[in-house]
């Protein structure tokens, strides 16, 4: 059942990414990076095993429609998941909004570096806008998970 939901969610996220998100980015406006945000959310608020499954399913979905060598997106997403998990486990506090958004920011910077190296170019303005919108969207996700679903109370009873 979990696979069904993950595949469905991956199709929705991939459709949004290949459509309006990339269209806005190409037009120079930038848009929240849904791929990185979902990876971050799965690692930060969920289970690492599901996060890896999500990274592989979403990565392979993007690989099927992309013209890049098959496995490129899956490899990047698994790498991002691994690094985010390491950062979360070793250096950062789970219940801190600032630290969770800092990790999201680091993920986005790493994503931009990997993509810029692969594409041999960078869209500076769109990347900055994308970082800004993603952090904003990440704050909303954090609020929904941590406050609405009362995860904060589980996290050692700490408040924002």
């Amino acid at each position: 059942m979990i696979y069904f939901f993950l595949v469905l969610a991956a199709l929705i996220v991939a459709s949004l990414t290949l459509g309006p998100v990339s269209h806005f980015t190409l037009a120079g406006y930038g848009a929240p990076n849904l791929v990185v945000i979902t990876i971050w959310a799965f690692v930060w608020f969920g289970n690492i095993q599901i996060a890896y499954r999500w990274a592989i399913i979403l990565g392979l979905t993007l690989d099927f429609v992309s013209f890049l060598p098959f496995g490129f997106w899956a490899a990047i997403l698994v790498l991002l998941t691994y690094l985010t998990n390491q950062l979360k486990d070793r250096f950062f506090e789970l219940s801190s909004l600032f630290q969770s958004l800092l990790v999201l920011g680091l993920q986005l910077v790493l994503w931009e570096i990997i993509i810029a190296l692969s594409a041999r170019q960078i869209l500076t303005t769109a990347a900055i806008f994308s970082l800004f919108y993603s952090i904003l969207f990440g704050s909303l996700v954090y609020y929904v998970f941590a406050v609405r679903y009362k995860l904060l109370q589980r996290w050692l009873g700490r408040r924002l």
Partner: protein
């Protein structure tokens, strides 16, 4: 990963899939996937565009209400009608331009194509078309919209192809300036579309039309690329650069033509 250690079959299947996918026989599968995902991608893209149009209409309604509250209702209706008409007019004009281009350049064979999706990361500056080798699309063919060059086919499979936009830093386009008297190489990048290494004595003026050059046989000659927006020069250099403005906004394009 621990789960994969417990169930290595999943990992083996994924690795095998990735290995098999590197061979040409897997290309049709990716073609089918690209075409299959096109429907939700286009639906999401159109919906987001409609939402944007709706909000810009709301913005203009608020502005009007400040000017005259009595005329607000009437104005709203008129504006709604006008926006519909202007959308139709724009669409009509775009089609007329495309038609005009195909008539004026009867020497070129144009193949209409629809944009299926955009590259997962905008940085790649690429988009996918619903035409491939079975439609006669081949590598290095030029892609135009409303008579202006927008990019080039850089990857092609049986029923889909990938276009690199002019703004892609890795795409070099030979162009002619000053009514064909000066040639240069157009390149995309952070500064926008720029033609470098123009001799300082070339009479390059803002507003001049820039067209493709048939140099090296890469493009058909004389396809409009844009106009010169700014001439960039420094005292010490013997060459100047020109920034080119293209009237084509990637955000409004849904269909393009591939020059066969």
């Amino acid at each position: 990963m621990r789960r994969f250690r417990r169930r290595p079959t999943t990992l083996i299947i994924i690795v095998l899939l990735i290995i098999v996918a590197q061979f040409a026989l897997f290309k049709p599968v990716r073609d089918v996937a690209r075409n299959a995902i096109a429907a939700p991608v286009i639906a999401f893209d159109t919906s987001v565009r409609k939402v944007r149009t709706f909000f810009s209409l709301i913005g203009s309604i608020t502005e009007l209400s400040k000017e005259n509250a009595d005329l607000k209702q009437q104005n709203n209706e008129l504006r709604a009608q006008l926006s519909n008409l202007s959308a139709l007019k724009n669409e009509n004009e775009l089609l007329k331009k495309d038609l005009g281009f195909s008539k004026t350049r009867s020497d070129l064979t144009l193949l209409p194509a629809t944009i299926l999706n955009y590259s997962p990361a905008g940085t790649f500056q690429a988009l996918t078309l619903n035409r491939g080798t079975k439609d006669g699309v081949a590598l290095e063919q030029a892609v135009v919209s409303n008579g202006y060059l927008i990019g080039k086919i850089k990857k092609v499979s049986e029923s889909t192809s990938e276009v690199w936009l002019l703004s892609n830093r890795n795409l070099l386009t030979p162009v002619l300036l000053t009514e064909g008297k000066t040639s240069g190489i157009l390149k995309g990048g952070i500064r926008g579309l720029v033609v470098d290494t123009i001799p300082v004595d070339a009479a390059v003026k803002v507003g001049d039309l820039v067209v493709t050059s048939s140099m090296e046989g890469l493009y058909p000659a004389g396809i409009a690329v844009g106009t010169i927006e700014e001439v960039i020069s420094t005292k010490e250099e013997i060459f100047v650069s020109a920034r080119i403005a293209s009237p084509i906004n990637i955000r409004n394009i849904q269909t393009v033509f591939v020059i066969k």
